[in-house]
């Protein structure tokens, strides 16, 4: 079975990154969701962000 079809047969478990209202909407429907405290990596500095991601 393809991964997409597996998803269709599974309970949805979501990571929400960005607009908090989407998290609020999903919570209100009792969907399993976590909201990330997202912010631009390295304060939005591209060069620094790329260095940081290489550290992982």
């Amino acid at each position: 079975m393809s991964k997409i079809n597996e998803l269709f047969n599974d309970e949805l478990k979501i990571i929400n990154m960005g607009l908090e209202s989407f998290h609020k909407d999903l919570k209100s429907q009792n969907v399993k969701v976590i909201h990330m405290n997202w912010r631009p990596l390295a304060g939005g500095n591209k060069k620094m962000a790329s260095l940081l991601s290489r550290l992982k």
Partner: protein, 519 residues
């Protein structure tokens, strides 16, 4: 007075929250102009245009939060800051004590069985986050826009290679396992699967399926550019395969603006091999080509929904191009509206929040009304030079970029449309206003309540001039949506608005009204 500025370094909030707060702050007594935002280039540009820029603001980075205001009296700043803080607390999810990971890696560790990442961060950061999610075998819905087409192709190729969904960028709607994601309605569970490259078009079809008593298995969004030749329909083709293999899907509906020719052929080739019936709406596309490939073409979004419902019930699908109400009732409505108008009133103003719905309206109306001016015209020669000034027959997509710089989409914040409605009603040549109201998750909690005072004012001002402003609307919503279709409809009808069961029928009623005006 000078500018009052409050800066909080390394404090991040999302743009929609902050745009809504900016709007509220401007209502405070003593505030001439105000902006609340993160120190992004876009917000600095906006601050400059509002004459709210100074050296402090110029120095900020995208992780820095700021409040800047031009005040009648410096002391008002305390009230401004207090209001901002209260609103920030109010906008937070109820249970903010729960753990909120800062990176995707830590989120994946914390909720290791996650299967979908919903991404709505600013476009320039989105692609990196999507890549991370896909590499971790997670399906993605990418709501963010401002993602380049090159990035889109790269991400979709990666998703395809890994057998994952990558819905977007600029994917406004999806319903996976009956969970509405981002902007979506609460639709009954059923056996119709949809793949849509157009947000409000997809919402309209799913809503009408629900109104007709049936439901959806899955609604997969692809983002608006998926069927362009560069992207090649990657996600629509993947979506069709998934629905073909899904035991709960018995009928498939495909929705898109007219695709690139070679993409259309690729998609229809797959459709021609399908054992499940497929209804296609390539809004204004080639109907014969669809038929030739064994699919069911549809002339409107509503027609697509009707055909899908018939097929889902194992009935023969028929064209649906008319009204749900009897002919006599429609004639009565038209007569009543037109007899109250005066001879000066001859133009239509369409005020849409849904781009596809505006596009469908223009396609259906041009035959009877002739050319229609717009910010998204069918023919480039009828593009409005100034989008703030309507000319003759005009139909606007108020969710388009020109109207949303620094402001939330009109489905979230109705104020742009409230202002425009009042403005249009001052034009004595206007006969009819045509509007959509999109309910569901993601949309404003009461889009109709926000519009009612303007509707009242507009109607009254026309009556004072011995005229009648006809307002025709459709509501893209269901009774299970948080705003409730039935309650919303009643509120509009109480103000004399004619509410039709679909955008297509609202448009057809408008055509009938103009036929009567011109007869």
């Amino acid at each position: 007075m000078g500018l009052s500025v409050e800066v909080r370094k390394n404090t991040y909030y999302d743009s929609v929250t902050l745009m809504l707060i900016s709007k509220e702050i401007k209502q405070i007594m003593g505030v001439n102009e105000a902006l609340v935002g993160m120190g992004t280039d876009l917000n600095k540009e906006l601050a400059k245009n509002l004459n709210l820029i100074n050296e402090d603001i110029k120095k900020l980075g995208p992780n820095d939060f700021f409040i800047v205001a031009n005040l009648e009296d410096d002391s008002v700043i305390e009230k401004v800051i207090k209001t901002v803080d209260n609103l920030l607390i109010k906008k937070k999810s109820e249970d903010s004590s729960e753990y909120r990971p800062a990176t995707l890696d830590s989120a994946l560790k914390y909720q290791s069985d996650s299967n979908l990442v919903l991404i709505s961060v600013p476009g320039k950061y989105a692609s990196d986050e999507v890549k991370k999610a896909l590499k971790n075998d997670k399906h993605v819905m990418l709501f963010s826009d401002n993602v380049s087409i090159e990035e889109e192709i790269e991400l979709k190729k990666l998703a395809k290679e890994k057998g994952l969904l990558m819905m977007g960028p600029d994917c406004g709607t999806a319903i996976i396992n009956n969970v509405p994601l981002a902007f979506a309605n609460v639709i009954k569970k059923g056996n119709i699967g949809i793949v849509g490259a157009s947000g409000t078009g997809t919402q309209e079809v799913s809503v009408i399926i629900d109104k007709l008593g049936m439901g959806v298995s899955q609604v997969i969004g692809t983002g608006g550019r998926d069927l362009k030749s560069e992207v090649g329909g990657i996600m629509m083709l993947e979506g069709i395969d998934a629905l073909l293999n899904d035991k709960n899907t018995e009928v498939i509906v495909l929705i898109s603006k007219p695709p690139a020719k070679e993409v259309s052929e690729k998609v229809l080739k797959k459709v021609s091999k399908s054992k499940k019936p497929v209804v296609v709406n390539f809004i204004g596309g080639d109907l014969d080509l669809i038929k030739k490939h064994g699919a069911y073409p549809s002339s409107t979004l509503e027609d697509a929904a009707y055909k899908a419902v018939a097929l889902a019930k194992k009935e023969e699908p028929m064209d649906f191009n008319g009204f749900s109400l009897e002919k006599e009732k429609i004639e009565k409505i038209v007569k009543k509206e037109v007899e109250q108008m005066d001879s000066e009133q001859k133009y239509l103003r369409g005020l849409y929040t849904g781009g596809t719905l505006a596009d469908e309206a223009m396609k259906l109306l041009t035959k009877d009304l002739g050319h229609i001016y717009s910010n998204i015209p069918l023919d480039p020669q009828f593009k409005l030079i100034d989008v703030n000034k309507s000319i003759e027959h005009t139909c606007l997509d108020l969710g388009d970029d020109e109207f949303t710089v620094g402001r939330p989409h009109p489905m979230i914040d109705p104020s742009t449309r409230v202002e425009r409605l009042i403005k249009e009603a001052k034009d004595e040549e206007v006969a009819v206003l045509l509007m959509d109201f999109v309910l569901g998750y993601g949309s404003h909690e009461d889009p109709i309540g926000e519009m009612i005072p303007a509707i009242k004012k507009a109607k009254e001002s026309m009556v004072k001039k011995g005229k009648h402003l006809s307002i025709v609307a459709s509501i893209c919503g269901t009774n299970n949506d948080p705003q409730s279709l039935e309650i919303s409809k009643r509120k509009l009808e109480n103000e004399g608005v004619i509410v039709m069961p679909s955008n297509a029928q609202a448009v057809k009623l408008v055509s009938e009204i103009f036929k009567k005006i011109n007869s």
